[in-house]
Symmetry: C2
Subunit: 343 residues, 2 copies
């Protein structure tokens, strides 16, 4: 076993766009579990847009990351030592161990994973927080009805790709908004969206108008900026807009103005911010439905896996440039379930 614990620390809080210099890669001493604790070896680290908020001091829905401590984040790991009755050496667990190779925890909130059910990495993506975000945001706030038109931004991302496919399962017309031709092709050809708009290449209002001949009933908002303004010009009466993320604005030092809200008034429409953690009561249904859909091939996912914890900072910065394609993960350590499968 390793004798040091590689970590990526938050070195300083960024102003505006984060840079590589805001992080520091260090080798810390190996932690040791005491009674009631487990030691986990990180296999996968999830990189998610919400982490930009954790780098700030300001008020948000969760405690900020601490300067000089490892960045926070969801992880899939393997228990290498257990002094906790609920976990055994060799267990795979979904946890929140942060940007580090090893972590000691009391296992609070950790969930054991069965590699036979689904690849363990999916617990950070389509069968994890991003997938559940898509599921509750679309179903509980968007409330899609058969035949309605659903638009989703960041449609090739971890959340957006699940939103669109679940909307298809529910019988909707689904239109993605993405930032490249390759992503457009992917969501239409691989994921089965009805249409896709490349906001970097097309006039957004015109392209959406063409892709949504019956207007827009649901817009699942991941990005902020111009897409929402364009969508609002095309919403139908009683439209619903689950507000999941505003990634284009997370690095802004002064918040940009938003769209004019008159279309909400005229159309009796709804914008509702939500955070997946508030919907923990839906975990069972989410796992049942989405695990089933993944197995049936109706809910596909793509992972963008970066090798090595030391590459986490640059991969994270790429999230804000749309560089990732599918769920962004860092492989921090060897995945024994994958080696076994490929042997």
């Amino acid at each position: 076993m390793a004798v040091v614990n590689r970590q990526v620390l938050l070195k300083r809080r960024p102003t505006g766009a984060p840079t590589i210099g805001d992080f520091e890669v260090v080798d810390a001493p190996m932690p040791a579990p005491t009674e009631g604790e487990i030691l986990c070896r990180t296999i996968y680290l999830s990189l998610d847009p919400y982490m930009r908020g954790r780098m700030n001091e300001g008020r948000s829905y969760a405690t900020p990351a601490q300067v000089g401590k490892p960045m926070v984040g969801g992880t899939v790991g393997e228990v290498v030592e257990s002094r906790h009755p609920g976990f055994a050496r060799g267990d795979f667990v979904l946890g929140y161990d942060g940007w580090q190779a090893y972590a000691v925890s009391q296992g609070v909130g950790a969930r054991k994973l069965d590699p036979k059910q689904a690849p363990i990495s999916t617990a950070l993506g389509v069968l994890g927080m991003p997938g559940m975000t898509a599921y509750v945001g679309l179903l509980d706030i968007g409330k899609p009805k058969e035949g309605e038109t659903v638009v989703v931004s960041a449609a090739a991302g971890a959340v957006g790709s699940a939103v669109g496919q679940i909307a298809k399962i529910k019988g909707c017309r689904v239109v993605g908004v993405v930032g490249s031709r390759e992503k457009c092709e992917h969501v239409v050809k691989e994921l089965g969206f009805d249409a896709c708009v490349n906001h970097k290449a097309e006039d957004l209002v015109q392209a959406l108008e063409k892709a949504c001949p019956r207007g827009i009933d649901i817009y699942f908002e991941n990005v902020g900026g111009g897409v929402l303004a364009a969508v609002l010009r095309l919403i139908n009466p009683n439209a619903r807009i689950p507000l999941c993320g505003l990634i284009s604005e997370y690095n802004a030092t002064t918040p940009p103005p938003g769209p004019n809200l008159r279309p909400l008034l005229v159309n009796r429409a709804l914008i509702k911010g939500f955070i997946v953690f508030d919907h923990a009561d839906r975990l069972g249904e989410f796992l049942r439905d989405c695990t089933g859909w993944v197995r049936e091939g109706r809910l596909k996912y793509r992972e963008d896996i970066v090798e090595g914890l030391e590459n986490a900072p640059s991969a994270f910065l790429g999230l804000f440039q749309g560089r990732n394609f599918g769920k962004l993960l860092v492989r921090v350590g060897d995945d024994p379930t994958r080696s076994i499968a490929s042997r």
Copy 2:
């Protein structure tokens, strides 16, 4: 009886702020009811911000007013001739006869008023569309809970004054936003609001912060512009924002930008546009509750009555400058119920 029918026509569709020249006062021939129709003499005409939208050609939630025809609007009148089995001469009715002294209609949607129950003018205000807008917007979208803080803009207006008082009845802390010192005093001293902010005299964020020491749970939006942006900085988790009107923006030729929506995301908050006509199923409960509260003196109202139909255009323009104080009405003809009462 009069031999001509004075009318105010929409002469042309305004661009930006309407002017007196967009209206034309004419004396048309008296209409005569045929079988199944009634002829009503208008006593009160309601002037409401939504009428600005009816002057436009564009898509909205209702058919636009027609150029060369009387402006549309709610009215309280007296049946002077009836060839309809449901109405008798002398009946007082709430109708939608528009900006004219007399109108023939089939009585569709007209509601008979009992002057003994409440002054007939209230059917256009606190016990009419504006009161019901306050009632359903606050209760059904805002869902106030005892002890919560409710902020309402245009708080001295027909809708805002009812919102604040109903919120007080529901046990909330209520803070108004208005545009003059006199209105501030009125809503606090006469209507019982806990505090009031004059957005023309005070720094809005600072003043709201002081008036809302426990943050803002509900913001009833009537005006648009800077108030919503200031409120969003102070909303609590799970805040609700019924979006009723955006009067400050109705004359804009290009829609101004809106507020940055990040506070909605972080606070899982909701903005929901609504239109009172969608909530017709609540009419009975609204009338029961609000008639009771008016009688008990818990729901006060103030009427700003302009004399003479020919003065309707200038009074209407004043709405957009905040010139009215309470429910703006035009007395088009003699109110016999009032004469009786004052004799």
